[in-house]
Symmetry: D2
Subunit: 342 residues, 4 copies
Amino acid sequence: MKPGASDEQIQAVVDKVEAAGSKAHISRGEVLTLIGAIGDQEHDQRIADSAVPSMPGVDKLMPILKPYKLASSQIKAGERSVFDIGGRKVGGDHFAMIAGPCTVESRDQLLVSADAMKAAGATMFRGGAYKPRTSPYSFQGLGQEGLRLLQEAKDRTGLPIVTELMDVRDVEAVCEVADVIQVGARNMQNYTLLSEIGRSGTPAIIKRGLSATLEELVMAAEYILKEGNEKVLLCERGIRTYEPAYRFTLDLMAVPVLKEMTHLPIIVDPSHAAGRRDLVPSLSLAAAAVGADGIIVEVHPDPDEAICDGPQQLRLEDFPAYIEQVERAAAVAGKQLSTAAV
Amino acid sequence: MKPGASDEQIQAVVDKVEAAGSKAHISRGEVLTLIGAIGDQEHDQRIADSAVPSMPGVDKLMPILKPYKLASSQIKAGERSVFDIGGRKVGGDHFAMIAGPCTVESRDQLLVSADAMKAAGATMFRGGAYKPRTSPYSFQGLGQEGLRLLQEAKDRTGLPIVTELMDVRDVEAVCEVADVIQVGARNMQNYTLLSEIGRSGTPAIIKRGLSATLEELVMAAEYILKEGNEKVLLCERGIRTYEPAYRFTLDLMAVPVLKEMTHLPIIVDPSHAAGRRDLVPSLSLAAAAVGADGIIVEVHPDPDEAICDGPQQLRLEDFPAYIEQVERAAAVAGKQLSTAAV
Amino acid sequence: MKPGASDEQIQAVVDKVEAAGSKAHISRGEVLTLIGAIGDQEHDQRIADSAVPSMPGVDKLMPILKPYKLASSQIKAGERSVFDIGGRKVGGDHFAMIAGPCTVESRDQLLVSADAMKAAGATMFRGGAYKPRTSPYSFQGLGQEGLRLLQEAKDRTGLPIVTELMDVRDVEAVCEVADVIQVGARNMQNYTLLSEIGRSGTPAIIKRGLSATLEELVMAAEYILKEGNEKVLLCERGIRTYEPAYRFTLDLMAVPVLKEMTHLPIIVDPSHAAGRRDLVPSLSLAAAAVGADGIIVEVHPDPDEAICDGPQQLRLEDFPAYIEQVERAAAVAGKQLSTAAV
Amino acid sequence: MKPGASDEQIQAVVDKVEAAGSKAHISRGEVLTLIGAIGDQEHDQRIADSAVPSMPGVDKLMPILKPYKLASSQIKAGERSVFDIGGRKVGGDHFAMIAGPCTVESRDQLLVSADAMKAAGATMFRGGAYKPRTSPYSFQGLGQEGLRLLQEAKDRTGLPIVTELMDVRDVEAVCEVADVIQVGARNMQNYTLLSEIGRSGTPAIIKRGLSATLEELVMAAEYILKEGNEKVLLCERGIRTYEPAYRFTLDLMAVPVLKEMTHLPIIVDPSHAAGRRDLVPSLSLAAAAVGADGIIVEVHPDPDEAICDGPQQLRLEDFPAYIEQVERAAAVAGKQLSTAAV
């Protein structure tokens, strides 16, 4: 409460707090009075959504509990989650290298890429069958045909598949192929999509929205976790800032700070942040050194002919040297590349 | 092309441009060479998505055409769109006052609000049956029951209804009641949702994403227009900035600049930007004075008991004085309050 | 303190608080303990600067006092400051129209402008003799010669002069001519400059830094007030955001929120935010309607020949119609144009 | 020029371009006409500052030359600058570890720190005698006495001294002690200060302003270089974004992008970005891995008793392990710690 809050004002807040189902505890100081509201996240949320913050005499709400519960690092007493995804370990001391082309374009393009990723030691294979595009005049992905080709790549290489889901009506089809569903930055707060992924049980990567706070990103994970799906990875992919020199500003501070907030693995996408191939290696080294649990990176057999995002995709022939250097940086942070268990 | 680009580099770009279906036109200057790509938005988009921007010798792409076509002010030769929505004019010299509670909470709350809005001369009535919430522990809206109550409010007052759609699977149900579908800021780039709204033919308000550029907002409208649905309003509702003193930063410059870009009506939501009732009147005056085509504002019969966003909702009893002052500011910008045709 | 803080941790904080000169008051709740630190802004600042925020067991500092004292609206019990500057009232119900060219370029340009401002009813006359420029290759202002011409304009029209100060070594020379010293956005946190202006006693306008928070802007004023100089105006001039469509994003929410924080008058600079003449009128109407205490705007007799910022300066011939429309918008917000007392 | 620009409009622009001293070259395409302006940065700046950008028929200015000349990587044909500062190499393959307390507080605190930095192998020693503080109620530095103590630390350890300059009137006194003058983020565009440092000839570190673009940062260096002072280091120290989870957002993409723009060495300040000791090690590893030419970090013998920024300063006893791990990360990027030549 503000200094000088009246007894009536204090009582009114107490009543509201108890109406929300919390237990109110008053503590009177010399200058100000503190009203504790003892309950869980649902009670707290009800109070935050209520008129309490703007009631007369109220100074501010000071949440003691984080608004997320299942994603919180407290729930695991500081232990970090380690998942098994298609036989690969993710999290902890394991560093996941998820690589592949931006978009599934053709059988040839996809299988050549998958073989090369397998050979170079990537942890998982990525490729988009459904593409969210700013312009309705852009290529929107191969859809079902793309999913079929991803299945073929998986059968052939054994690499787990990461692919994007955009429409709740495609959940079933995507889950048949995907080992990990990717939620794009623009869908990070598409709550109906998140809930359906939660119900599907398929592991998910949630990309941070273009201007999402870390807390909002963790809350998006909470939507999935709440449905009983525990395998969620969070992905930093660049945020919007005033700086015109690059497409997005890669926020690597997010990695250590998210690790403090949540037990979930944190990965980094250097390709979309940069939008330029030549920045990808140095940003990847930085991501590995800062302590990320993995990288999701775009690689293409012929970026100059790519249907989308060609300029940011690494060349297949540069990938083996790239992965080796990233491994060295990950080692400085105490991590080892995750590959299939033998 | 960069200064010093070779003939081979120039020819390679020309080939790419023609492969995209555009006609290439070379213009050689003393210092640099310019390659014109003559085509429409779809050709341009194909070139922008291709390797051209990163080909050797290429300096930068300078789009002559805007990436949007149907939303562009050029298509109307500078004339502004004026729509009829449920008997109310929107756009041009008409100022739309869209008001009502954040969320449909109960029959009483809704009908009392609707009657008051009607009496005070509001143009349309707003209320949410489906609510996108940052927390999965927050109230998520009354859903179908909310839609039913909105229908009752409409039958009773004759006011056109504005309500939010979040899930493509609800399009049909929402369109039965809504005169205008609202697309929330977090769904601004939910492209499958936009396309379905386009196909539905129901007029729509698109709220600007939390960090969407004006061009991205207009591109979102283009997704709807492309399906043949012409009645789209754009809504500025505050953007994310570094400033911690308010929830969002209301960007009123967006109003005149969007008017230059597009023929579509532009409205302003002062409630969500401020998050505080006491800032709403002055921001509303500013929005009207800057030339907005309308305001969408939250009003509640008992904000202290509101289930969500209570602190930002105007009190019903303050609304008549509010609307009158906003009318005066709109008049300075040459606009009149839009009401039902007699 | 965090839940579970030990008695030793609590005592350590109490000791630190008392070492800073504040009186500590402990209030133990069921879940957490609150330590009040009773002192003034200097004590609070000492605690904030100390190790207290990172001591074991400490959750966070919750300042009860604002970090500014003399600028705070509390010091005036909610009354707004009204100053007399060269016979013109500033603040309260008075609306100041401060107009003139960006830069002093020549005797002719300046005197023609000053005469026109006087005729149209402007409150004060502005013009820069010293110009902060991003590029060392840009024109840096006429300097001393510019000050001499400003004096001539003042002698001729009686309009108070507003001009920028950039270098502490020029304080004396500028104060001889200036009725109001302008502190540019890039110098908002040039603390030695602020302190010298404080000591000079000349009224000042402080422009908000490109990414300054409102609190930092008020703290900049506090540097001047602390030296005994009470006449400080704050100026919103556009902030940096991610939006590429305009030079800066004019933040009109700053006006009502600053009025809540401080008793000082708040003005708006629409010219620098827009960087384009055609946006200036609508932004000026919005600034007046939102409740600003004035506008500082650039007007030039021949903007096409201006040495700097030509594109954003209004044309002299458009100014009379402009000022009249702004007066109408200010009237909606309850203010009247400030002119010389008769 | 815009499509459809008239011959008169084209001629008017040509006239303006030539009035600015550039040679105009017209190139007419099928759709649009390009006017080349051939001159140097000063000519270009004159055109950019003129009415050209807003003349009828003009679409936009497309600078071919960068606005900076001496700082540009072109001037060195891609070779990177390597400086000798007090016997230490900076730039190229050399990694500079600049460490020391935020502020000079006492003889003991300073000399203990200096000895420890020397012993651990730091490249230079930092400490502030003049401190820019947001609040006028904060400690403002020991001033002259602080400089004297820095001289003592230098005499004792042989480490080059880095210290901040805030006021043009202190240039001479600071230059007597400093091997490198630090320009704080808030003074990055204090042009009179930059010019004086240029004239002093003392090497300088310029910290990036809180919301400065990379181009503005390089332009700040240009102010110093223009006066004939060639030894300028640029420092990324975190920018302002919407994210509330940390004090500033460290922008490590700035490192590779600045290296592309300029030949000057680029260093990183992890302490001010984080504002928290525990984030400093991981951010330092990332900075080294991304290719920075050095780090400037705060270390204190007793951070809990520090007068300012205690929470972000590393503990002296943790420094040897820290520097060793940073060396390993720098090695991944191909750099070696710079120490005194033997």
